[in-house]
Symmetry: C2
Subunit: 289 residues, 2 copies
């Protein structure tokens, strides 16, 4: 099965444990709405790619890790769009969850997705309870405090923001966890895979900054120019357009160079090089050329 | 060590993994504020009492289960107090988290506590990875969808509310999980302990309804008459004052009768009988007499 179908099936199966008969109907619909249709599913694909490169045999734990990571990502988007944060009316080209279902259900949808992420990992313990617990530690670290997604968003409430900590937590942590969990889910050493995830996460952040600065809302499926509007740090305002594109390319090269020796290293290098081409917003290909 | 000190120490130790240097300072303070000083810690004490009655040897998993349950309870209070839900300014006798720290940090505090609950369970896997995963399944079920706390709160957004499902999810699920997890954390059969938790949970809900109906905000440490104000179901409006007190007593008796055979059954029966006396608001003792 191709990785994309595999991820969609795994997400659907895991969601089926929460959005079942007996669940309040609006919450069930909001959970599905928050997860499908997805974005590029970059994080879970990265997780499965690393598991595959490390000679995956049983898909149970890699699927659970990929699913948990995507649920946590979706939860963070739902909460980040709330009126008290970004107040974003649009996400993935449709009304954000709080606009479609109201604020209470948006808060609860995020909460339930966080819980479901960890339930999914716990259910996969049949395939290896110690590995499942290790994944829950890794993935939990990327989601909460002191330096996971929640911490990243919390830096926005501080007067003295540590910029590096802000980016590392809000975006980088879940990328680093994607590669580390892919390795850990098949019993490989997660630490050797941290840099790959961190570099791709940084590249993704720069790409997001570029999109925010140069694309319109219709192209992005969410509001544009939010960084300037909300006075948030952005690589384009720091480095200029060309500088940001160069930074992006440097990060991708460094990501690929960091891939440790493993059964599928060559394939993985080729794959990440190919995928990274899509990071750059279309209108900017000429700047990079 | 007495159970109360043991719980406070376990909570403090687990929170120390999140609210560390490196954590955004306001989030670290809000996390501590949401957990300390606590309420009666009824759920974690119930969990530890059952573990003790089932001949607990190693405290690692019981402590982790009790801590996870209390973190999830605290998270649900923080989110339930938000302006889009109860809009409660007061909790445990002090300003609620969103009043003290702002809405964004209140949302993130709840999120981070949910994550920390599962990280705490995963860390305790050193004492038994399969049991730790089983606890994460049990406790996750009580927190999310289809019938955990998030689902219970989501019933408030439905026109056709199933009252039994609403109460079972919003309050009962975490009580049932407290007794079941206490048993599971020492390798005993959790299902035999479900009814004890469910009955105590129902009793606690009736007691809460009584307090809401007859106490003032100063006594409760949170706003009074919220059920009438928010048009929520309440045992006093359904059964009258005396009827609600009788219901409470019947539930406690049925809870005690449900305790399965185990090493510490007699002590546990006596303990629950003694603690249940405090469920009844002080002014109502004469109604019950």
């Amino acid at each position: 099965m191709d990785p994309t179908s595999r991820i969609e099936l795994a997400l659907e199966a895991a969601l089926g444990h929460a959005a079942t008969p007996g669940c309040p109907p609006k919450l069930a619909r909001a959970l599905h709405y928050a997860v499908f249709p997805g974005g590029a599913r970059v994080r879970p694909r990265l997780c499965l790619s690393v598991a595959h490169a490390c000679a995956e045999e049983d898909p149970t734990l890699p699927d659970a890790a990929a699913t948990a990571i995507e649920f946590l990502h979706c939860a963070s988007l739902v909460h980040d769009d709330l009126p008290c944060f970004d107040d974003a009316a649009l996400r993935r080209g449709k009304p954000s969850v709080h606009v479609a279902f109201g604020e209470p259900l948006a808060v609860l949808t995020g909460d339930a997705l966080i819980v479901l992420a960890f339930e999914t990992l716990a259910r996969a313990a049949v395939a290896g309870p110690a590995l499942s617990a290790r994944l829950a530690c890794l993935i939990g670290r990327a989601a909460g405090a002191p330096d996971g997604i929640a911490a990243g968003q919390a830096w926005e409430s501080e007067e003295d923001v540590e910029l590096a900590a802000y980016h590392r937590s809000k975006t980088g942590s879940l990328f680093a966890t994607a590669t580390m969990s892919g390795a850990a889910s098949v019993g490989a050493d997660p630490d050797a895979w941290r840099m790959l995830g961190e570099r791709i996460g940084e590249a993704y952040q720069v790409a997001d900054d570029l999109r925010d600065a140069v694309c319109d809302a219709a192209t992005m499926g969410k509001p544009a120019r939010q960084d300037a509007a909300l006075d948030r740090p952005n690589a384009v305002s720091e480095l200029g357009l060309e500088g940001a594109v160069k930074r992006l390319e440097g990060l991708i090269a460094s990501a690929i160079a960091s891939i440790p020796d493993c059964a599928g290293a060559d394939d993985l290098r080729a794959q990440i090089g190919a995928e990274a081409k899509h990071f750059l917003p279309k209108g900017l290909a000429r700047v990079a050329a």
